[in-house]
């Protein structure tokens, strides 16, 4: 891997409310997030040279070639625009995509917008997930998305001797953190018992261990070094990016450990010059569409020992005022999960945390480096970004 010389900064961020059913269309949600990001950067649309639009499966919004459809709402009218799409990993992939456009020297300012409007899909967006499985060997058995998560969680718990009480604690932490997030959809003060009393949707997964269906959008503005230094005294630098895809034959993988997330993280750490991630990363937003995934990902990111993230969680290490605050935003479990927008929401959170602008969610200790990660496709991709100031 070669060292890239041109530095890229995040200079603005915007986010809509996340909700089960927004009145706004996908274009309108995109517009709110994008215009807010521009305003926070002190820029106007005409200052933007190129646009990245990121969104999950077309089947959610029910609009084919959704990226092109969203483009005008995302600020892409008559501009070079590219769609960034790797399923659930899209939100963090989108900043990588935007980073390329600036780091290459091609552009000085890039607007990155991520959107999802899942409520359009009837009767439930679960239907859009039924076609992600192998059409010959798996779909005839009628699998749904919950099955593979349940199978993975089950293997993870078995391999390391993790209890469902420990998994439930992720929901409790994140939904509580989200109480301080103005955009949150499913913030709540709950107990482990509340989570374990909720319906079992596919053993060992309970209803309250699953993120909700959401509509929403998020956006950031990226700028080259000379532009960033001109428009802000608080640039947040993209210090490392990484991504990696494992095979789509998900059953062939070690379900207890996300090796592809580790590879993505190692790539980002190497680029960022990070040798001891547990000491050098001060705040982290790992992807948490299901409660166990936060722990699974913290291990893949090398921020917890393999099989020990649950123990760290119980000991308070990942609390907002703990040694390594994890999902201080409230994550997908608390803020909500409009797929691509949820990933970019995590990038927005790290941006606000590093600038000291996270309000009631601000983690103590003046964090200097943070990491956001997303995950998706058929449980096969890890996308990672390290930000720093």
């Amino acid at each position: 891997m070669r060292r890239i010389r041109r530095k890229v900064a995040v200079v603005g961020a915007g986010l809509t409310l996340f909700m089960r059913r927004a009145l706004e269309t996908g274009k309108e949600l995109s517009y709110y997030a994008a215009s807010q990001a521009l305003e926070s950067a002190g820029l106007r649309l005409r200052d933007i040279e190129a646009v990245v639009v990121s969104s999950g499966p077309d089947a959610f919004d029910g609009v084919h070639m959704k990226g092109e459809w969203l483009s005008d709402g995302a600020g892409g009218y008559c501009k070079p625009i590219m769609r960034s799409y790797v399923g659930g990993g899209s939100g963090v992939f989108s900043i990588i995509h935007g980073w390329y456009m600036v780091a290459s020297g091609m552009f000085d300012t890039v607007l990155v917008v991520a959107e999802e409007k899942m409520s359009s899909c009837q009767p439930h967006p679960q239907g859009a997930f039924l076609t992600i499985f192998d059409h010959t060997l798996e779909r005839p058995l009628g699998p749904n998305l919950l099955w593979i998560f349940a199978l993975e969680q089950s293997r993870y718990m078995h391999t390391y001797g993790i209890s469902n009480e420990e998994i439930a604690l992720v929901s409790v932490k994140n939904k509580r953190n989200a109480l301080n997030h103005p955009c949150a959809q499913v913030a709540a003060e709950l107990t482990v018992q509340d989570v374990l009393s909720s319906e079992v949707v596919a053993w060992p997964v309970h209803r309250l261990m699953v993120s909700p269906v959401s509509d929403g959008a998020a956006a950031i503005v990226l700028a080259s070094e000379h532009v960033a230094k001109r428009i802000t005294d608080k640039p947040v630098w993209v210090e490392g990016v990484g991504w990696c895809l494992d095979t789509s034959y998900w059953g062939n993988r070690d379900l207890a450990y996300p090796r592809y997330v580790e590879y993505a993280a190692r790539m980002a750490y190497e680029m960022a010059g990070i040798r001891e991630p547990r000491k050098e990363i001060h705040v982290v937003e790992p992807y948490d569409p299901f409660a166990y995934k936060e722990l699974h990902h913290l291990e893949g990111l090398l921020l917890a020992e393999r099989g020990k993230a649950a123990e760290d969680l119980v000991n308070g290490r990942f609390d907002r005022d703990g040694e390594l605050p994890s999902c201080p935003s409230g994550g997908l479990m608390g803020v909500g999960n409009p797929i691509a927008a949820a990933g970019l929401m995590k990038v927005c959170e790290i941006f606000w945390q590093l600038r000291g602008e996270a309000g009631k969610r601000q983690v103590p200790g003046n964090p200097k480096k943070g990491l956001a990660q997303a995950w998706g496709d058929l449980m096969q991709i890890g996308t990672v970004v390290v930000l720093g100031r």
Partner: protein, 159 residues
């Protein structure tokens, strides 16, 4: 009403109902046809083996995903036997209705391969465990269609 408010019911905002009508006819592919034929005719699972990497692929592919060797002539056959790698217990919801009836869904690592297969297991949720040895129960030869559903279910191997 707008972004500052959160509608709580689907009928609170004006909408237009339409569908996204598409239908597909998937080919099972080079590896898929061989897999289906082997299952139908001999009741075995067809896998491909990369000698160089020492990996036996199930589901079979005609290429080695590690070294990109052509595996289209490199087949092995293994019986429908393996161990439960992980499992879940889900309500039977053929019609989308809630159900009291539960079924065990497992990922089964097939002996002699680096892979496995997803399947239903005829065992009670109380009795199932990770590491349980299981074997596939096939439809009678005359009823096999050359599809993965020719494997009716898996059942514990009684030792």
């Amino acid at each position: 009403m707008g972004i500052r408010e959160k509608p709580t019911r689907m009928d609170q905002v004006q909408s237009w109902r339409a569908d996204f009508p598409v239908e597909y006819l998937y080919t099972t592919g080079v590896a898929g046809e061989r897999f289906a034929k082997t299952l139908r005719e001999r009741g075995m699972l067809a896998a491909t083996r990369c000698q160089r990497c020492g990996v036996t692929y199930l589901p079979p592919r005609i290429y080695c995903q590690r070294c990109f060797a052509d595996l289209s002539e490199s087949w092995v056959e293994v019986p429908l036997q393996g161990v439960i790698h992980t499992y879940t217990v889900v309500p039977v919801r053929a019609t989308g209705e809630p159900s009291q009836s539960l079924e065990v869904i497992a990922y089964i690592r097939i002996d002699g391969t680096e892979g496995g297969i997803l399947g239903r297991v005829a065992v009670s949720p109380e009795a199932v465990y990770i590491g349980m040895a299981v074997e596939g129960v096939l439809a009678p030869p005359a009823e096999r269609r050359g599809a993965v559903t020719d494997i009716r279910y898996f059942k514990p191997i009684l030792s």
